[in-house]
Every structure is written in C-alpha cells, then in structure tokens.
Amino acid sequence: MNIMEITRKKSEPAEIIMVKGRIDAQSSCILDENLMEAIESGSEKIIINMNEVDYISSSGLRVMLLALKKVRLSEGDIKLSGLKPFVMDVFVVSGFKNIFNIYDTDNEALSDFIK
C-alpha cells in the first residue's frame, strides 16, 4: 500500500494542499492533520489538489467534511481540483459533489476565490 504524500504551498489568497496516493482509513489522519494545521494557521481558503489521488474512502470524505464545516463558519471554503474519474464517482454517489465546489484545475479554483 503506497503511503500518502502531502505538499502545501501558499498561492494568495489561498493555500493549496497537494495530495498524492490513497486517502484511506490509515492515511486520512495525515490529511486531517494538514487541513487542521492550515486552518489554525489562518488559511480559510483552501484548495485540495487531487490530481494524483487514486482512491478515497469514507474516512477521507469525513476529514474533508469536518474541515469544510470549520472554514465555512468563517466564510472560507475548501475547493477541490483535478479529481480522477473514480474519485469523482465517490463524490457523486455519496452526494459530496453537491457540498464541495469542484474544479478541473487549481487555477480555476483560485480565480473563483479571487472573484
């Protein structure tokens, strides 16, 4: 099982979190830590780049949902970009497609933040 990798970068006005690998029950806590850290350090506008995510389980959805609830309290948002077809299916079936704003690229997500 490949371990998930996360890199973060600032791209004003948002913070981009790049995730690589599988977001499952084991690895979702790493994403959780990174999201919470970003939010606590003041980032309310977050883009999760999922270009290289092959799989997401319900544990992964949970940490994203929790983070989304947090940032929306302060008018922030978590936008997702670059979902592979399988990952997109998970968002469609679970209904999470309707609560997250999903884009093809980081730039599209970013320009929506700037609007």
Binding site: A25, S58, K69
Partner: protein
C-alpha cells in the same frame, strides 16, 4: 612483577567463585526484595549472612604475602552496602572484620578496620543516592578508593614502617585491581538485573494492556453482533439473506429489518465513515435513529429526512453514514426506496439481462441540515433479485491492488441468478475472499440478497 601477576591471577580465581556466588544471591527473592527497598528482618538477616559469607570466602581464600593475608574480603561488605543498604553493608563488614582479626598477623587490625569501613562507607553511598543505585562507574571508583584507603591504613598502623612499605608496594596494585574487578562484575550483573526487571515489567504491563483491550474489543464485538437483527424476518413472497463481517473486531457497517406494521417491512443497509471503534459507536447511533425514524414515518422520504437531521445533530466530528432504505410491501410486491449516498444496490429483474442500479436519491446522512431525499418506486416480480452491499465488497483489493469491482459482482449474480439468496451470498463472499487472499480484510463487508418468490 611476576609475583604480582601470580597474586592477581590467584585473586582473580577467587573472584570467579565469588561471581558464581553473586549470581545466586542477585537472583534470590531476598535480594530482589531488598533492592525494591522492602526491608524485612528476615531478608536483612539472610543478606548479612550472604555478604558476610562472601567476605569470609574472599578472606580465607586469600593469599599471604610476608605472612600477611591479602584478599578480596572487602567485596562482600562493599557490594552489600552499595546495593542492599546499611544493615547488610555494616553487618557483612563486621563478620569479615571478626574473621580477619582471628587470622592474626600484622595487617589483621588495619584490614578488619578496612572491612568495617568499606561496609560503612558503602552504606553511606547507598543512603546518599536515596532512590537510585550506584552505577557501575561509581561502584568501581568506590572500590578503588576503599582499597587505597586500606593501604593508607596499613601504612599508618603497621610498624615498623619499612615492613608496611614493603607490604603495600607488593599488595597495593593486585588488591586494588582485584577488588575493583570484583565490584565491576558484581555491579555489572546488578545493572543487568535491574534492566532485565524493568524490561520484564514493561513487557508485562504492555501484555496486560493488550489483553485488556482485546477482551474489551471482544465484548464490544459481541454487543455489536447482538445489535444486528437476531434473525432474518419471514417476508411472505420473498426469500432473504443477510450477513455482515467487520474488518476489525468492530465495524461501521450495519443492516436492519424494520417491522413497519401492516404488510410492510423496512430494509436498511448502511456504511459509517471510517473504521474500528469510532465507526462502531457512530453505527450504533445511526442504526437506532434510523430505526426510530422508519418506525414513526410512513413516508420513506420523510424517514430519511428525519434520520438525517437527528444524525447530523450528533455528528460533531464530521462522521456521516451512507444509507439505503427501502420499504417492501408484502402483498403488492412494490418497493419504495431512498438512497442516501450509498453504493447503488443492484436490481436484476427475472426477465432482464441487465442490472438496474438503485442510484442515490440524496446525500449521505449526517452531512447537511434539512437535506431533501427523493424516493422511487419499483414493482417486483417473482424471480427478481436485489443485491444490497457495502463498498467493502467491491473495493476489496488483491495483492496487486486491483479492486474486486462491480463487474465481478454482477457476473457472479448473473451466473447464479437461479440459486437461493444464501447460496449466491456464499459464492460472492467466497469470491471476494479468494480475490483478497494474502491481504487482511481491508473494510467491513455487508451483503443482503432479496429474491421474489
């Protein structure tokens, strides 16, 4: 120099015997009690005797130079004092001193004095260190200092000074080296004993903890299994089979059959986000709330909406549940269902060769407040099959990380559509297990198969 070497070798032989003796002492119950500072009259007496004997052996087995006994008799009182406290140190010192003075000779007085002082000073070190023990370094330095002190006492007390000088010049080096080596080995053994004991305690504690957790999880697992429907209900005109197998002791999948009164039965299959204990706790909550909501709402849509709001109110941690709920009418054979973000059950009509997916009609439960759910209706015929499952089946992976997938599931159902529900379920589980053999079960697996008769 060869005389000194001979002395040293012979003294060293003595030490070897003392080491064997020490191993027995160190591993005795009296010694471990004393080390843990549980001093009783009995263990103190036994230890005084032990270290006293050690002193006697070190003295009697000693050699003589110019008619004077040279020995390792101080190891007993030093070791006793350093590691067992004042009573043992001083007690053993006194026993040694009495014996040395009985042997006579010009150095007997200074040597007995040295034995008592060794025990006394060792005891002081023991008391000064309070709850710690002298390490190997301190013990060796202490032994060197004590033997040097003994030489000094000989120089002062033995007359005439020329003899004293001669004795000291022969005896100093071998005595210091031999006693220091003896203490080095004793304290080294002692340190090992402490570490061994510490490791053993930690391991015991860890094992006890693990055993306790396992026992608790087993109980939790039993409670959770009891929480699933005890049996499969009789539904006139239908045959049904259900099973649920958590990946760990407890899991987040569940199914439920609800008696809706009259001629209707509710069927629920659901998957809580995450795994293990957190998922299990949320599963209990979700199942209870859904069961209640399905009981008081005739409308499938309304039952989902109420359950969603109730579950959301308890979901501070972002937990949610994908849930499929269906009401089955026994006489009209009609089903009404709502799907809250759950992987679509597969419907295979008796006269059809394609599956119909019972797709989501709304979001997973526990995510959005006042979320609306759609409900759909299907008329069933005899021979129709509905296979409800959780993603633990389709997403089980083999060693090459390939998923079992929906296609494989459909193939098994299609090829065995004339069999009974429990037979089809058995074949599916067998196939999933075969696919994922070599990998531990990754996710909870739940399966319900309903067939029109």
């Amino acid at each position: 120099m060869s005389v000194e070497l001979d002395f040293f070798i012979e003294l060293f032989e003595l030490i070897c015997v003392i080491i064997v003796f020490s191993i027995f002492v160190i591993h005795s119950r009296w010694f471990s009690d004393a080390v843990e500072r549980r001093h009783t009259w009995k263990n103190q007496a036994v230890l005084i005797l032990f270290f006293g004997l050690l002193s006697i052996y070190g003295t009697l087995g000693g050699l003589s130079i110019l008619g004077e006994p040279l020995n390792v008799g101080d190891i007993g009182p030093m070791a006793g004092g350093l590691f067992c406290g004042p009573y043992v140190g001083i007690g053993a010192g006194l026993i040694g001193a009495v014996l040395i003075s009985a042997t006579g000779g010009t150095t007997s007085l200074p040597c007995s004095l040295a034995a008592v002082l060794s025990g006394l000073f060792a005891s002081m070190v023991y008391l000064l260190l309070k709850n710690h023990f002298a390490g190997v370094k301190i013990a060796v330095i202490f032994a060197i200092a004590m033997e040097s002190l003994q030489m000094l006492i000989i120089l002062i007390m033995v007359k005439p000074p020329e003899i004293a000088c001669e004795i000291v010049s022969y005896a100093a080096l071998p005595m210091i080296i031999a006693n220091a080596t003896g203490i080095l080995i004793f304290s080294y053994l002692f340190r090992n004993l402490l570490e061994e004991k510490k490791t053993r305690n930690e391991r015991d504690q860890y094992e006890a903890e693990v055993a306790k957790n396992r026992a608790e999880l087993e109980i939790a697992s039993e409670i959770q299994t009891d929480f699933l429907p005890g049996g499969i209900p009789e539904i006139p005109g239908f045959s049904i089979f259900a099973l649920s197998r958590p990946a760990r002791e407890v899991g987040g999948d569940f199914y439920d059959f609800i008696d809706c009164g009259g001629e209707e039965t509710g069927i629920v299959i659901a998957d809580v986000s995450g795994k293990g204990v957190p998922a299990a706790l949320f599963m209990v909550l979700s199942k209870t709330l859904m069961n209640a909501s399905a009981g008081w709402n005739r409308s499938v849509k309304k039952a989902m909406e109420d359950a969603n709001n109730l579950i959301l109110a308890e979901s501070g941690t972002g937990m949610f549940v994908t849930l499929f709920y269906m009401r089955l009418n026994h006489s009209s054979k009609k089903i009404v269902y709502a799907n809250g973000g759950h992987c679509p059950p597969l419907y295979l009509g008796a006269s059809e060769n394609d599956f119909l997916s019972l797709n989501p009609t709304g979001m997973a439960l526990g995510v959005l407040e006042d979320n609306k759910y759609g409900a759909r209706e299907i008329s069933t015929s005899p021979g129709d099959l509905i296979v409800f499952f959780t993603d633990g089946i389709t997403e089980s992976i083999n060693t090459r990380e390939e998923e079992f997938g929906e296609e494989r599931l459909k193939e098994i159902i299609m090829n065995n559509r004339n069999k009974k529900p429990e037979e089809i379920a058995g074949l599916i589980i067998e196939s999933v297990d075969l696919h994922s053999s070599g990998n531990p079960q990754f996710d909870d697996i739940t399966l319900i198969i309903l067939k029109g008769l």
